[in-house]
């Protein structure tokens, strides 16, 4: 009824192959975007910005990046935290070295620096696969965090090793620093995430994305039909690291404003993003968003219900929240091993057939 192909005729290949071929889904998407861009900024406050929406966008960006590498190209990576750190420190160094450079450009350049570092650490992927590659990327994680903690140049020789984001503006409005209005930081992150999700979606549908998927599905067969493993794997590492670097830059400059490497970019960050990708759905753009939403919003929601709503002691609520989130992860993985994105896909299939399923 709501979700039908009937009557939705296509007269060109472009129309037939668009991302949302069904009209109602297209409307749903654009409706959501209109709300996100034009309605939310008028209602957002500090709490929603710093605890809900900006974290959601930053983690979505990181999950998108990892999904390109792990979901589309099949290369398992545990180096996400380290690559986010590269993005954050590149952002910090660029911000302090070139105070007049626009923050938008700084963030993009930080992504570029991370892409380069990611390519270097992606080189071993040509020789090693699977668990062994995971261990090699784990080395990247520990090495990078150690490096940023060890070499004072990266944190401008400050006494504590913390890096703090100075205030930077776009069109005269602060987007980093403490006095940035919530709507500005939100819109800044949303614009970047929207833009790069769009690019990711189209990359994965084109030649490059197809070569990644060919490598993922069977690398020898892909090589035989003419996909260059070097090009495919290194490009996957580069693109993925670019996204993760942008996420790291936003994480540091817009969301937190001050970080120290061991706490903010530890191995737990790598696992968190990997869980987001697995729970959301490997090889799915929507899945990256769903996974990020599940793992960032659920704890905040549970905390507000248990402490704010029911008045439980905070420690009991914190322990219960850990158990509940863990339980839900197990539940979803048992019910739908392909992630939340697959649930959405199934729901759409059912809707198409409704009310006459066969």
């Amino acid at each position: 009824m709501l979700y039908r192909e009937t009557g939705d005729f296509k007269s060109s290949y472009a129309a037939d192959q668009q991302t949302f071929p069904i009209r109602s889904e297209r409307y749903l998407f654009w409706g959501a975007m209109v709300i996100a861009f034009l309605v939310v900024p008028f209602f957002i406050n500090d709490y929603w910005e710093k605890s809900v929406l900006v974290p959601l966008l930053v983690w979505s960006m990181a999950a998108l990046g990892l999904n390109i590498l792990t979901g589309y190209c099949g290369q398992v990576s545990l180096g996400t935290g380290g690559f986010m750190a590269v993005g954050a420190y590149a952002c910090y160094k660029l911000m302090t070295a070139f105070p007049d450079l626009n923050i938008f450009i700084v963030v993009i350049l930080s992504g570029g620096v991370t892409a380069f570092v990611g390519m270097l650490f992606g080189l071993p992927s040509l020789r090693i696969k699977g668990f062994y590659l995971a261990v090699a990327t784990l080395a990247a994680q520990f090495f990078l965090v150690w490096l940023f903690n060890k070499v004072p140049w990266f944190y401008n020789y400050s006494a504590s090793g913390q890096i703090t984001a100075p205030e930077r503006t776009i069109f005269g409005i602060a987007v980093t620093g403490a006095s940035a209005p919530p709507w500005a930081t939100y819109l800044f992150c949303l614009t970047l995430v929207f833009l790069f999700a769009w690019i990711a979606r189209n990359l994965t549908r084109g030649t490059l994305g197809r070569s990644w998927m060919a490598i993922r599905d069977m690398d020898i067969a892909a090589e035989i039909i003419g996909v260059q493993p070097l090009k495919a794997k290194i490009s996957a590492f580069a693109v993925s690291s670019f996204y993760i670097g942008v996420a790291g830059a936003l994480y540091f400059s817009v969301w937190l404003g001050a970080v120290e490497p061991t706490e903010a970019f530890g191995i737990n960050v790598s696992f968190l993003v990997l869980f987001m990708v697995i729970i959301g759905g490997l090889g799915s753009i929507l899945g990256s968003f769903l996974g990020a939403a599940f793992l960032t919003l659920m704890p905040v929601l549970l905390k507000n219900v248990m402490v704010g709503g029911l008045g439980w002691p905070t420690d009991l609520a914190a322990h219960f929240e850990i158990m509940l989130v863990g339980g839900l992860i197990v539940f979803f993985l048992i019910v739908e091993p392909h992630g939340l994105a697959q649930l959405w896909r199934l729901a759409k299939e059912k809707l198409r057939l409704w009310p006459f399923p066969y």
Binding site: S51, S158, G161, V259, E260, T262, E263, T314
Partner: protein, 429 residues
């Protein structure tokens, strides 16, 4: 058991039901009763909550206005800390005690922009002691740099004022917190001519074999420690294992609780640490806590932490906050405070020996005199020593000063660099 506790709590919550009185003084407590550092977080949070409960029960609040402690669990995690800050600041929160270096660094710019004072008591950013630059951040009664200098002073005392050629090693948590004292210790090394070895321990510090092997090889005369959580216990156990003389092993005030020394048993006997407040429960205020808080069943947490080092620190933090609120009430001639008024109260806070006596805490801490320029307090500290057979800490000297000639220029340098990076004009002119 979990279920029955849960059910009880739900019933209790349902019974209490109604919201607390609106006109009250809100003191958020960003506690961490869970996670790897919970052993340190629980006593502090209990002490902080119990003191306010005592004021409410015994005196009916602060000058008749009830204090409300708003607890929020951070798990010592910076992101959760930010979430806690954002979710509680709208409730009229007067003062934040971030209780973690990471969260402090987050809150310094945020709280300053929101006009809410932050009290990072003996932690956080040392150079925030310069009130000319940091308008809303206070770290009285002492900073890490004071602590480092007081420890070196103690070593100087023990060696008749001459430590030339002595070797001092610093075992530190490899994070912003652990790195804080390095600059000061390096400066002091130049001045006094000792040799400084830096030995970092990565979070969480459960494995320190290589660090203590290095200590065994290099045989330093003294080992200083900037540790937190499980790292402290492991370090003290390792030191006992290599038979390092415990009286030459001196920790900062966060490496100085019962949790840290008890696991090493007899081996920890003689371990020293610097402190900025008194130890034990031999103060009149504890009788009041027993009568008004514990016996009425209103103690926070399990109520089994009373008199431990970190409980006392939480209590002391709450006392300073309450006194600052009192000062603010007098200053602005009002009973209900805004965060801005609370900030003024903190900046005008004066606590002398007579006031401590009145509060039932005679000699518990040094005299405090906060001013517009100096948010770091007197910077006095004493050395406490562990007696393993009695299971008690004792202060072995008086609250003594740090080497201001070394520390003040460092504070100036670091705070001015921060001001320059962030375009902050100087105040107090």
């Amino acid at each position: 058991m979990k279920l029955s506790k849960l059910a009880m709590v739900t019933v209790a919550a349902a019974m209490v039901g109604g919201t607390p009185a609106l006109a009250d003084l809100v003191f958020p407590s960003l506690s961490y009763r869970t996670g790897p550092y919970a052993a340190g977080g629980i006593p502090f949070a209990d002490g902080y909550a119990d003191y306010f409960t005592l004021l409410n029960e015994r005196d009916g609040g602060i000058n008749g206005v009830e204090a409300r402690v708003l607890e929020c669990e951070t798990g010592y995690n910076t992101q959760k800390g930010v979430e806690c800050y954002e979710s509680t600041k709208g409730e009229g929160s007067l003062l934040y005690q971030p209780l973690s270096t990471g969260i402090t660094y987050q809150l310094i710019p945020k709280a300053t922009a929101d006009g809410i004072p932050v009290h990072s008591m003996g932690y956080g950013r040392t150079s925030a002691a310069n009130g000319k630059i940091f308008s809303h951040v206070f770290n009285y009664p002492g900073t890490y740099w004071d602590a480092a200098s007081i420890i070196v002073n103690h070593i100087l005392d023990e060696n008749g004022g001459d430590v030339k050629g002595k070797k001092i090693a610093l075992v530190y948590h490899n994070s912003a917190y652990g790195k804080e004292p390095i600059r000061t210790l390096e400066e002091l090394a130049k001045k006094h001519g000792y040799e400084l070895t830096l030995i970092p321990v990565d979070h969480p510090g459960q494995e320190q074999k290589s660090q203590w092997l290095q200590i065994r090889r290099e045989r330093p005369d003294y080992v200083l420690m900037w540790g937190w959580g499980v790292m402290n216990q492991v370090a003290i156990k390792e030191a006992a294992n290599i038979r390092f003389p415990m009286e030459n092993f001196i920790g900062v005030w966060w490496s100085a609780s019962e949790n840290d020394v008890l696991p090493a048993g007899e081996g920890a006997n003689g371990y020293k640490a610097v402190t900025f407040h008194g130890v034990g429960s031999d103060f009149p205020v504890f009788d009041d806590i027993k009568k008004h808080v514990v016996d009425t069943g209103k103690a926070a947490g399990a109520g089994d932490q009373i008199g431990t080092v970190l409980y006392n620190r939480g209590l002391y933090a709450a006392m300073l906050a309450a006194e600052a609120a009192r000062t603010a009430q007098a200053l602005h001639n009002t009973k209900d405070l805004t965060p801005a008024q609370m900030r003024d109260g903190m900046e005008a806070l004066k606590i002398d020996a007579a006031r401590l006596e009145e509060l039932g805490l005679p000699g518990f801490g040094p005299e405090i005199n906060v001013s517009c320029e100096n948010h770091g307090g007197p910077g006095l500290g004493a050395i406490q020593q562990w007696n393993a057979s009695d299971g008690t800490w004792t202060l072995i000297n008086d609250f003594g000063p740090a080497d201001r000639a070394v520390i003040d220029p460092l504070i100036m340098e670091d705070s001015l660099a921060f001001a320059k990076e962030n375009n902050i004009p100087e105040r107090c002119n």
